[in-house]
């Protein structure tokens, strides 16, 4: 117990030196890009920036799938030569009434054979009054939201990169959410608008015959015009999909002097675009962006080159943003911003200063306390404390953890608590001395007894904070992480380092009484 082998000593000192080396990247610039350079990131609350929490619009995901299902139902029934009445889409199901009750069984049979996107995606059942309902399973809807997030993350990243944001972080949270962190951007309005746009562009033929009619006929939708009031009836069928775009850019139209968005299709898109325009010369072709008609020009000739242009009375910013959105691709479902936090750079600087000063002041007070109340052994505890701070920073750098304001509070608290272990050891040694034990026996018994208590008390604290990390979010997590790391480093610095210092001192001087 009182013997500290050279190997053990070397490894303890080695760990401290490695810790010191790992801390360095936080203070000096990376000398060469080939060196691994991990450092602590400052949280948005310290450097200023914005945090956005986006959620996939579940209602729209479900509605989208149900619309498709209604289409499939209609086609499946027609192909099987079966009829239907009152085909409609509700919030969770597609419903219709069979033409005659005799057709119910064949209806159920062909509908149950419809291809599903996932096993058990929908259920076909006969309800009250002979109505047949095709209900989406909740699990399948959730899976779709999950998939939508997976697809969206890449598109969100492309859109944000295009705005020139530096070091944005985009992470998934749970099934249907995305966290976007934008350091340095303290007003996220533009990003919010970009992300709040689905940017689904489609081309539809205009149903001129339905203009003016109050109720659109089957297969025709009334869509709002983007400029000015009014709606335009267009065929629901998508003739060309914007997903086939390869490029888009904003420029000023030579003839009108207006801002315009130019786009280029890939070969599939160009082919389709050419076919549709060739077959419908003289008709109007609506360009629809997010269910709004941007413009509906008359097709004058077949457009075969795969290039097109939209002029919708845009401003320069609008044209640039639309081009950006088209290039980045459409989101599979709308994303809603449900939480937003942004911190200006001046407040971040204030916080660093206040937090830093408090941290330093607390540290000085603790050191003074230990020196006054425990003398030599108190100083050993203080050295351990300093090592603790270094090791904590080292581990945080290694994880490239994000240091937040509550994280700083966690560090300070760890320093206060780390001293506890040393106090326990010192008090135990004092007790043993008071019982009349020799210096050696007192130190030995003191260490041995205190260790059990230290492990017990730290294990409980560790449990509480691991729970906090698992269930916490945002700043709470940062706080829990720092304390969890702090507990581990505390165990190392007190049980190994400060004890080593004490034992080495004893071996060197062989005192008859202890300075306690």
């Amino acid at each position: 117990m009182m013997y500290y082998s050279r190997l053990r000593m070397a490894s303890v000192i080695g760990v401290c030196l490695i810790g010191l080396a790992l801390c360095l990247p936080n203070f000096i610039r990376q000398p060469s890009p080939s060196l691994p350079w991990r450092q602590i990131h400052l949280g948005l609350d310290l450097r200023g920036g914005s945090y956005l929490l986006l959620q996939v619009d579940m209602a729209s995901v479900t509605a989208d799938r149900l619309r498709g299902l209604q289409d499939e139902t209609r086609q499946t029934l027609l192909k099987a030569g079966l009829g239907y009445r009152n085909l409609a889409t509700g919030a969770h199901a597609v419903t219709f009434t069979p033409r005659t009750p005799d057709e119910t069984q064949p209806d159920l049979k062909v509908l149950r054979a419809m291809p599903m996107n996932a096993p058990g995606e929908f259920k076909v059942e006969q309800g009250e009054g002979g109505q047949i309902a095709i209900t989406l399973a909740a699990d399948a809807a959730r899976q779709r939201a999950y998939d939508a997030v997976t697809q969206s993350i890449e598109i969100v990243r492309r859109r944000i990169d295009a705005t020139g944001a530096i070091d944005p972080e985009i992470t998934r949270q749970g099934e249907d959410r995305i966290i976007v962190e934008l350091p340095g951007i303290s007003d996220p309005e533009r990003v919010k608008n970009l992300l709040g746009t689905t940017a689904k562009m489609t081309f539809h033929l205009v149903a001129d015959s339905a203009i003016g009619s109050a109720v659109p006929p089957a297969g025709v939708e009334m869509l709002p015009m983007s400029e000015g009031q009014g709606t335009l009836p267009v065929f629901s069928h998508v003739d060309v999909d914007g997903a086939d775009l390869t490029n888009a850019s904003a420029s000023i139209d030579q003839q009108s002097g207006e801002w315009a968005v130019n786009f280029t299709f890939d070969s599939t898109g160009a082919q389709e675009f050419g076919d549709v325009t060739r077959a419908n010369i003289g008709k109007r072709f609506a360009i629809v962006l997010d269910n709004k008609v941007i413009e509906a020009p008359v097709i004058r000739s077949a457009i075969t080159g795969g290039n097109g242009q939209i002029t919708g009375g845009f401003s320069a910013q609008q044209a640039t943003d639309i081009a950006l959105l088209l290039r980045a691709g459409a989101l599979p479902a709308p994303l809603n911003v449900i939480e937003q936090r942004s911190i200006g750079p001046s407040l971040g600087a204030d916080s660093i200063r206040a937090g830093g000063y408090s941290l330093a002041a607390g540290f000085v007070l603790v050191i003074a306390f230990m020196a006054l109340f425990y003398g030599r052994f108190g100083w050993y505890a203080n050295i351990a404390l300093l090592a603790n701070l270094v090791l904590m920073s080292a581990i945080l750098s290694l994880f490239e953890a994000t240091l937040t304001l509550p994280g700083m509070a966690g560090m300070l608290l760890t320093l206060g608590m780390a001293v506890d272990a040393n106090i326990l050891i010192n008090e135990r040694i004092r007790e043993e001395v008071a019982r009349g034990r020799s210096a050696l026996q007192a130190m030995q018994a003191g260490f041995e007894r205190a260790t059990a208590t230290i492990v017990d008390s730290n294990a409980t604290a560790l449990l509480a904070h691991v729970m906090l990390f698992v269930f916490g979010t945002g700043p709470v997590r940062g706080f829990a992480l720092t304390i969890t790391i702090g507990i581990v480093t505390t165990l190392f610095t007190t049980l190994l380092l400060s004890r080593m210092l004490m034992v080495r001192w004893y071996a060197r001087t062989r005192p008859s009484t202890l300075p306690v």
Binding site: R376, P406, A409, G416, I423, L463, H465, V476, P515
Partner: protein
Amino acid sequence: MFDRPLLRFVPRGTKINFMRGRFIGLATSAVLSIASLILFFHPGLTLGLDFRGGIVVEARTQGPADFNVIRTALAAQHVSAAGVQSFGGPDDVLIRLDTPPDSEPDHEARTQAMVDSVRHAIATLPGAQVLRADAVGASVSKELFRNGMLALGISLLMILAYIWFRFEWEFAVSAVVTLVLDLTKAIGFLVITHFEFDLVMVAAILTILGYSTNDKVVVYDRVRENLRKYRTMPLAELIDLSINETLSRTLGTSCTVFLAALPLALFGGASLSGFAWVMLFGIVVGTSSSIFIAAPLLLLMGEKRLRRDARPPARS
């Protein structure tokens, strides 16, 4: 200062009879906790943005803030029913808005749009800048609250299980009952001080719980050790002895943690000082409850069982 300690916390070998005052301690604690519970229901906690949902914008104006000018600017952006209050220095203002209720369609989108309107309003004031702008939707705030409470509850359960595993059930139950009493007092403190109850406060309360548990484990550890050492000593005397033996450690540690957190409370800035004050309160409560609540509870619960189990073997 460099070799021998200059100061000593507690004189050597104290023999304070803590258990004599156990009923006074328990009664005081019960009264304080009940009072805190009453405060919790009326007037109740000041819920922060995280748990209430809504919009908070902190802005700094050029020169002392003129509330009327700010209100006019907000009204020009169609932001109504905004609470404008001073905050920190004379040129700092806090603008609060409630979110539309969840029953309304697009309430999330409208909440987000309201933040932009407030920003635009501030942009019209010369030299003013937005320091912070937070908007939390109603659904998120409910979820954050649920997760916060879940973290608190699970931590308590884990602590209970751990102490039960390491000690015996009397220790675990009296520790957790004491923790719950500490927790209610912390809530009472929050109600009185009007510190906003948000995620950071949940972290503060969990820290108090962790700290307080730590303190109790040290005392209990000594009780357990003494139970083995003094096989015939009456439990009340034994607990007193254990508290006295650990007293200088208990006070020493409380002092260092208190000293570490004090500068944070005084100079840590608006975002951290509330947190630090709650911590300071929790340190005092946690330390006193280890002595005056957790130990008497252990005595009440363990009086028969702990001693009977530890009766000296028949042979000796």
